[in-house]
């Protein structure tokens, strides 16, 4: 090491310095997208403090820096999972069948805003939004159509759903029963991550504490009844989309994960039973190496946390499995084809970071819901990485890069600092700390400040966005846009009316009464929700009961 040290000094003095004096450089200071300062070059001295066996090691072994499986994509490629859904259940069912024929290997459901917020299509608040950004679901009837001809023992399905997550899970279980598939076998994910809604995504219905209570109810029920189903997708994606840095995304997501584990343990749920059903969801943004480092750091942190802090025994409990979506906020409306390139870089970072599944954005998404063509190109991007680039053939090929290892370690350290601050807010408890941070606006303020900083850099031309503030052109845009039939709302409301007329209203009433009493008496709400769903109660009716018992939440705004 002293030899290297001498060599480094010599190089700085004799080689770099005169060169800089003569040629200069583009910037005074180079940093990652998150503002971490980076040097000209990295060498063994920068990772001197790291221990290969302890900190890096081999894939499939603690601390899993290099991946959760020993041979990663040499065994099975990541799941190519394109988030989609629009219009009525029929429309989405058709799009899904197309994607499965095109080689997609997992389904991922986009719901419309009324469904996401737990209001029915005939609610005045839903006016104009039914079926717009995703599929409209009111009752089990819609789910029957949505999964018509799709065998639940063959696919895994992901649901981006939060306040009504338990209702959607119950619907999926009900469909499995109708198809004769045992619920122990069904695979998929519900997002069910309420904490990040308070930080960033704002799909808010119930106040923080009852929201968390319902999440833990789903853990408790799900660990028992649907053992192959991911009961939560602890999400940094939306935190990043709201403007956070990569470090904040990493830190807040891990902090939320810790809060959920603590809440589950408080309930008395066996951590080794639950852990395999926890999954994560990250964003992949433009800074290639920073993103790769983020994914590697996340895995290492989670393994330490689960093994050392929470005492999980089963090595599978130490795994951080995650889904990745390329950064929607990085897409530009200008020169939309450039987005294909951005998405490719981001997707490569996700694969090099060892993701378990991936959604690649379509190039037209800064304009509207993606067209069929754009969706296809997005999927092809993943397929080209998988089958043509050679990237998946070696596990964690960037390990040992002085820069990547240094950056992985740096991000981990910065994230730990945040986590310790949050823990302090909770007097030693991450659960209390996260709730406190929601109450006092800590998370929102951190994210808003980062978003404003990012925008200011663009305004001042310090940050270049190709085609937006540099290399701009006059362009006439002709993007084929997917238009949602304006008739969707009317048709959906009609179906809802029909379901309400034909169902056994007595059974609905009974199930909802059971739900009310369960909520009031602090019992698990999942069994009555299951019953309510099967009786064709609407999402709005079920959420309505929870709102009446727990109250609703209006977010204090911090700008």
């Amino acid at each position: 090491m002293t030899r290297i040290d001498e060599k480094r000094r010599e190089w700085e003095e004799k080689c770099l310095k005169p060169w800089l004096q003569k040629a200069g450089q583009r910037e005074e200071r180079f940093e990652t997208l998150s503002g971490i300062k980076v040097k000209t070059v990295y060498d063994p001295l920068d990772i001197e403090h790291l221990d290969f066996v302890k900190d890096i090691g081999y894939p499939g072994e603690y601390p899993f820096t290099r991946g959760v499986y020993p041979n990663m994509y040499r065994g099975r490629l990541w799941t190519m999972r394109q988030f989609s859904g629009f219009g009525t259940a029929e429309d989405t069912n058709r799009r899904w069948k197309m994607l499965l024929e095109e080689g997609e290997t997992g389904l991922s459901t986009a719901f419309d805003f009324p469904t996401l917020m737990g209001v029915d299509s005939d609610d005045p608040l839903a006016d104009g939004e039914v079926g717009k950004v995703g599929v409209a679901i009111d009752t089990l009837k819609d789910f029957e159509i949505l999964f018509d001809g799709i065998p639940l023992d063959k696919v895994s399905t992901s649901f981006t759903i939060n306040p009504p997550a338990g209702i959607i899970l119950a619907m999926y279980v009900a469909i499995a029963e109708k198809q004769g598939v045992s619920k122990e076998k069904i695979r998929g994910t519900i997002q069910n991550d309420m904490l990040k809604e308070f930080h960033a995504q704002n799909t808010l219905v119930l106040p923080p504490e009852p929201s968390l209570k319902v999440v833990v109810d789903i853990f408790e029920w799900g660990a028992e009844h649907v053992p192959k189903f991911n009961l939560i997708s602890i999400s940094g994606y939306h935190i990043r989309e709201a403007g956070s840095t990569a470090v904040q995304e990493l830190a807040f997501t891990i902090a939320d994960g810790m809060a959920y584990v603590e809440a589950a343990m408080e309930r008395g749920i066996d951590i080794d039973k639950l852990a395999p059903q926890l999954s994560f969801f990250f964003n992949s943004h433009n800074d290639f190496f920073e993103e790769i480092a983020k994914f590697r750091a996340a895995r290492r942190m989670w393994a330490k946390i689960m093994r050392d802090e929470y005492g999980a025994k089963d090595p599978r409990s130490w795994w951080l499995k995650f889904h990745t979506q390329t950064a929607g906020c990085s897409l530009t409306a200008q020169q939309p084809l450039n987005n294909v390139v951005r998405t490719t870089i981001q997707a490569m970072a996700a694969v090099l970071g060892g993701t378990q599944s991936l959604h690649t954005n379509s190039f037209d998404e800064a304009w509207a819901l993606p067209s069929d063509e754009a969706v296809r190109v997005a999927l092809r991007t993943q397929q080209i990485i998988a089958y043509e680039s050679g990237i998946p053939n070696v596990v964690d090929p960037l390990a040992g890069s002085y820069y990547v290892e240094w950056l992985t370690d740096k991000m981990e350290k910065l994230a730990w600092k945040y986590i310790e601050d949050i823990r302090k807010m909770g007097d030693g408890s991450m659960l209390r700390g996260v709730l406190k941070g929601i109450e006092n606006g800590f998370f929102v303020r951190e994210i808003s400040d980062a978003a404003a900083r990012y925008q200011r850099e663009i305004e001042e031309g310090k940050r270049i966005v190709v085609g937006v503030n540099k290399f701009t052109i006059e362009e006439e845009l002709k993007i084929p846009i997917l238009k949602v039939d304006p008739e969707v709302q009317r048709r959906q409301i009609e179906r809802l009316k029909k379901v309400k007329a034909e169902r056994d209203n007595e059974a609905v009433k009974e199930a909802l009464e059971w739900l009310r009493s369960a909520a009031e008496n602090d019992e698990n709400v999942m069994p009555p929700i299951m019953e309510a769903v099967k009786s064709y109660a609407t999402i709005g009716e079920i959420m309505g009961v929870l709102k009446e018992v727990y109250g609703t939440y209006k977010k204090p705004i911090i700008i």
Binding site: F113, P114, L116, M117, V119, P124, L125, A126, D127, G128, E129, K132, V133, E197, Q201, N202, T203, L204, E241, A242, G243, C329, L331, T332, A333, Q334, E365, A366, W367, A368, L369, S448, A451, A452, Q455, R456, I458, E459, V465, V468, N469, L477, I479, I481, K483, V484, K554, K555, I557, I559
Partner: protein, 140 residues
């Protein structure tokens, strides 16, 4: 005292994407405007009533839900219904809006649509130039 330009930054509908609206509010304030932010999940009626009572010069509606063609005209109509005059103000829309819909929205009385990635300085300039122009046109 010079009249300050008052801007209502509004989120209409159920979508919770407030990054754009909040960053906009912050930058408009720093550019010397008086900004009233509505917070999330407002109905068209609520936004319209706020626009009238606060006697704003500019109404900026942000939405990423695809419901713009349904909700924006409602805001404009309710402003009229509550006694306000949309012709005296600038009505701006920001969000994920397809090109065809931009044409539609302008027909409905929207002065300009800003898509994601628009530099905020551009929005500031637009307000400073177009507001007096529109007022003048309305008076004559």
């Amino acid at each position: 005292m010079e009249k300050k330009i008052r801007v209502l930054v509004a989120k209409v509908g159920l979508d919770g994407h407030d990054r754009g609206a909040k960053v906009l509010a912050r930058f408009l304030r720093d550019s010397g405007f008086e900004v009233i932010y509505t917070g999330l999940h407002r109905t068209p009626q609520e936004v319209a009533m706020a626009a009238v009572d606060e006697d704003v010069d500019v109404v900026g509606i942000s939405l990423h839900s695809g419901a713009h063609l349904a909700l924006v005209p409602k805001v404009i109509n309710y402003i009229r219904e509550y006694g306000g005059n949309p012709d005296e103000m600038l009505v701006l829309v920001g969000g994920v809006i397809p090109t065809d819909d931009i044409v539609e929205l302008k027909k409905m009385g929207v002065d300009e649509v800003f898509i994601p990635g628009t530099p905020i300085s551009e929005i500031v300039e637009f307000i400073k130039i177009k507001l007096p122009e529109k007022r003048k046109k309305n008076e004559s």
